[in-house]
Symmetry: C3
Subunit: 265 residues, 3 copies
């Protein structure tokens, strides 16, 4: 399994796919920077005047609703339609779905007009999209009552989409395959932006691997391994972030094959 | 005194208040990240479609006029009104007041429609709001002729607000109590964003402490202590920033009680 | 030559010019932070309500089209006109020109209404502006067929502007003088934002030196020297960024005079 993961990880570095982001203003730099650290090319562009043309150059489109406005949603829909036509994967990071009606409704507004290939969120955000009881405070998962794996699988079938749920254990569920990923470290939650960055990495991997559930699992595993390596050296969130970017850029075949923990259900 | 400060500092970690920011695009990440480093939960949301609902989850609202637009001012007013109804503290960081008429006028535009609980700025920014002779270059305090303590106290009474003036010596002045804070290090000025971050920390502390002058003094003291610890280890602004976040996350009771310098007038 | 460079570098620290940016949302923090690290004062302001007045305080104006919208272009034109009247230098960083028609057209839209003093881009971005065959993927130079020096010189004459082309070798070409700069390290490309930051540094130097080709060459040389120093200590992109800001703040006369590599054609 981890051999295949390493192979996808390497393909990102070789193909250097352009990953177009329409994302939030908080973590926009880190999303671009992690894309580059994994060897892909980031571009951030959100004006309706150019998003369709920019998608024309891209190999994946990452949408993130972390700081939404109506203009951004319009641009996301335009870009997603262009990505659908070009048949490149569209990833939606449902940041804060459940916190306000506006955020909870936006994924469906986009889905009404375009196809999404991967939807990602923490347990509660995905729970809210699945119509379950779940509580989100700001952008934080507070409570989620359902069975995570079943939720991912059911939502995946309903929407014909790959569902990625992040939490203590990550879950990716595509039309056929479900993976459980057990990498990562609690220090990753000590800085802002790890969730957003992981969606960017999923974008990088899905740009070069058609099996989106596998691509997402591979992305989260590599991302989590880097987090584990960094956590061992960090003395707090400041040094953790520095070590994390170093670890991503220096991830080796040995790291991935020895530390990776993915289980296919 | 510092025992009480430590107690408030700990309360932030225990209650994990959600601190809603409508802030500028320059330091938005750092504002979120410092909120998390102090143990609270940040959320950044500025669309008029969701700010009122987001305030409904929050325990404090931080407004920062660092990169203003009319849409942002509208959202700030909507959010501040919602915060007033919910009786959670509203903190305004008057970044760059005095540099342009638009920035100088915005605090009053918000005050016309909503109650602010804490207004924060450097000596010149507060001087401008108080109607005194003061010069601001961009977002920098250039000159301020008045008596800082008297200015803070007078403005506090006039507007029925807690006034926070930051500079070599910080001053917080509420309706009853005025504090002088002598923590911090000149290296804090070597990076962009320390001022903005300190307003976020005031938001975290005011979310759990009703005495806003005390909450602000406690926030600035802890923030400054972390700066002093980081400055000792830093070799320049890059390493300072890393050490600063590590220091914030690792602040101990001993650090706060031994290094804190707050004087009540 | 490098003595003169050091003298300009020192002038920035002494005069502390205010450098007004209207820039993109990805690297806005780093642009502000590098401006401060070189000893100048950054201010970021983009609302049409205040850009002209803010220019009134500034000694240079840096425009960056990395995340364009029509509102931003309007503000850039207003600000550039005000800068022309005040006779302070206007620097345009043509980020992503060539990737979409919207980005390729914007420099000309601004040029139709205001004077630009320095235009900066990678080989392909400048190639696109010069009307040559060049390919840009997102914000990356992919291919450029022309002769870089001739391109810079011709475009400089045509537009009566200083042209800055960045790449393995940097070129600055003003109405009279052309410089080749051979500083920098490949690690600078491992993080997002080096290109944008270099435009900010050119803004700082052009604010205090009327010879814009020399100012740009001096800026790129000092910037590149800091990159070389940082690269020696870095273990990856995370530590590189930290070391880079430390190196900028600690740049010495010896570093500049011994490591600087500028050749005048």
């Amino acid at each position: 399994m981890m051999k295949e993961v390493y192979e996808i990880f390497q393909r990102v570095k070789q193909k250097k796919p352009l990953v177009h982001h329409i994302t939030n203003w908080v973590t926009i730099y880190d999303c671009a920077n992690i894309t580059r650290a994994f060897g892909a090319l980031p571009v951030m562009a959100h004006a309706r005047q150019e998003v369709e043309e920019m998608v024309g150059q891209a190999s994946a489109l990452v949408l993130n609703i972390g700081t939404l406005t109506p203009e951004m949603v319009d641009s996301m829909i335009l870009a997603a339609k262009a990505a659908n036509e070009k048949k490149i994967p569209v990833i939606l990071d449902a940041v804060g779905a459940g916190a306000t009606k506006y955020r909870s409704g936006t994924p469906f507004k986009i889905l009404d007009e375009a196809k999404l290939n991967i939807v990602k969120g923490n347990y509660s955000e995905i729970g809210v999209i699945a119509g379950l009881e779940a509580k989100v405070m700001g952008v934080e998962s507070v409570s989620f009552e359902g069975d995570p794996v079943k939720t991912a699988q059911t939502l995946s079938e309903e929407l014909d989409i790959t569902v990625v749920m992040t939490g203590k254990q990550d879950i990716t569920s595509g039309t056929e395959k479900t993976f459980l990923i057990d990498n990562g470290d609690s220090m990753m939650g000590s800085i802002v932006g790890t969730g957003c960055m992981s969606a960017s990495v999923i974008g990088c991997f899905a740009a070069v691997e058609l099996g989106h559930s596998l691509a997402s699992a591979a992305a989260l595993s590599c991302f989590g391994i880097a987090g584990e390596i960094a956590a061992k050296k960090a003395r707090g969130p400041g040094s953790f972030k520095e070590e994390f970017f170093d670890a991503v850029a220096n991830l080796s075949q040995k790291d991935i094959e020895e530390m990776g923990k993915i289980k296919q259900l």
